[in-house]
């Protein structure tokens, strides 16, 4: 977005003025001076927090994988809260599937082939969904928030396939 210098100045001035009016009186406290190595070690409470968080994350990861990763991979394509289509990832040599989603901003094109699912074109400004490339593992997802498109990969949930190793 191009903003003229004048309006930039006005915005900065308004923000500064609003801040000056709203700011409470500030106080200082002095943290101890420490080297980077000391800082990286953290306190006991910090390490306990890290341990607790890592445990929670590992548990959540395990539970999610257990819930979604069973069976061959299926790509679900959503717009907002509606499921538009579900495709199993095609085998090597099969024709790729092109799927167009009419989103808030325009057409998003999803391609599903042997390499996985990817968004090849999107009308959004950031293009992060396109840049994130192809995904093929259950539990991966590609989201285009501005266009409200989500491609989520999950296992088809067939427990008979649990023992199959790719």
């Amino acid at each position: 977005m191009r903003v003229s210098l004048n309006s930039q100045r006005t915005v900065c001035f308004m923000c500064a003025a609003a801040t000056m009016c709203a700011m409470p009186s500030l106080t200082y406290s002095l943290p101890p001076r420490q080297s980077m190595r000391q800082a990286l070690k953290g306190t006991w409470a910090d390490r306990l927090l890290l341990l607790a968080l890592l445990t929670c994350i590992a548990a959540a990861w395990y539970l999610i994988q257990a819930a979604v990763a069973a069976g061959p991979v299926v790509a679900d394509i959503y717009h907002g809260d509606t499921l538009l289509a579900s495709y199993p990832l095609p085998q090597q040599g099969k024709a790729p599937i092109h799927f167009h989603v009419e989103g808030e901003l325009g057409l998003t094109e999803v391609v599903i082939d042997a390499h996985g699912a990817r968004i090849v074109s999107s009308p959004c400004a950031t293009q992060r969904c396109v840049l994130s490339g192809a995904h093929q593992h259950a539990g991966d997802m590609i989201a285009c928030v501005p266009n409200r498109v989500l491609v989520a990969l999950r296992g088809s949930g067939n427990r008979a396939f649990d023992a199959v190793v790719e």
């Binding site: 801040t19 101890p32 539990g139």
Partner: protein
């Protein structure tokens, strides 16, 4: 002529200094916010959290109100420059920045023995969670979105820890520099 005779009540110098310091931190945070947005994407949801580091610095040096107002200020002004004001990206940034600031303030105040590293860690995780929850609630409305959350939270833990250490290092230096200037 009339103006010359009037005396204007000036705020105490320390107050002006503190406000100037806060504004300097705000400018730094806005700069880092824009810098992060223009970096090549490190993954669709993941940022280094450098702008959040400045919120943490404000919290450590100036207290909760300064930190919260800085978080809001940098997201609003930063979005002006990036061109994402009032878009979903802005909502995600704002939700993340606000909840990170709130969680960091609560942790700093109420968790005994916690250092800046722990506070930053919680802030980073809160930022990521708030982004996901706001997107799930407002835009995409699919629980499938949360499939991608655990690995991203793991990355948040790493970046949060490093940012916390950096903030501790910088806050220590800044604080003592002030002190030696005053003496």
């Amino acid at each position: 002529m009339m103006l010359q005779n009037r005396t204007i009540a000036r705020p105490p110098l320390s107050e002006v200094e503190a406000t100037a310091r806060w504004l300097a931190l705000l400018m730094l945070a806005i700069g880092l916010h824009i810098f992060e947005a223009s970096l090549p994407s490190l993954g669709p949801w993941f940022k280094l959290g450098l702008a959040n580091l400045v919120t943490l610095l404000a919290l450590a040096l100036m207290g909760p109100r300064a930190a919260l107002s800085l978080a809001i200020g940098r997201v609003v002004v930063g979005s002006f420059f990036i061109g994402t004001l009032f878009t979903p990206t802005f909502v995600m940034s704002m939700a993340g920045a606000l909840s990170a600031a709130a969680v960091m303030i609560a942790a700093w105040r109420w968790i005994p023995g916690v250092g800046l590293v722990g506070v930053s860690l919680l802030g980073a995780v809160a930022h990521m969670l708030a982004q996901f929850i706001s997107v799930e609630y407002l835009f995409i409305r699919q629980p499938a979105l949360f499939y991608a959350l655990p690995p991203l939270l793991l990355l948040s833990c790493i970046s949060g820890w490093i940012n916390g250490a950096l903030a501790g290092y910088i806050a220590g230096r800044l604080g003592h520099e002030n002190n030696s200037e005053k003496n």
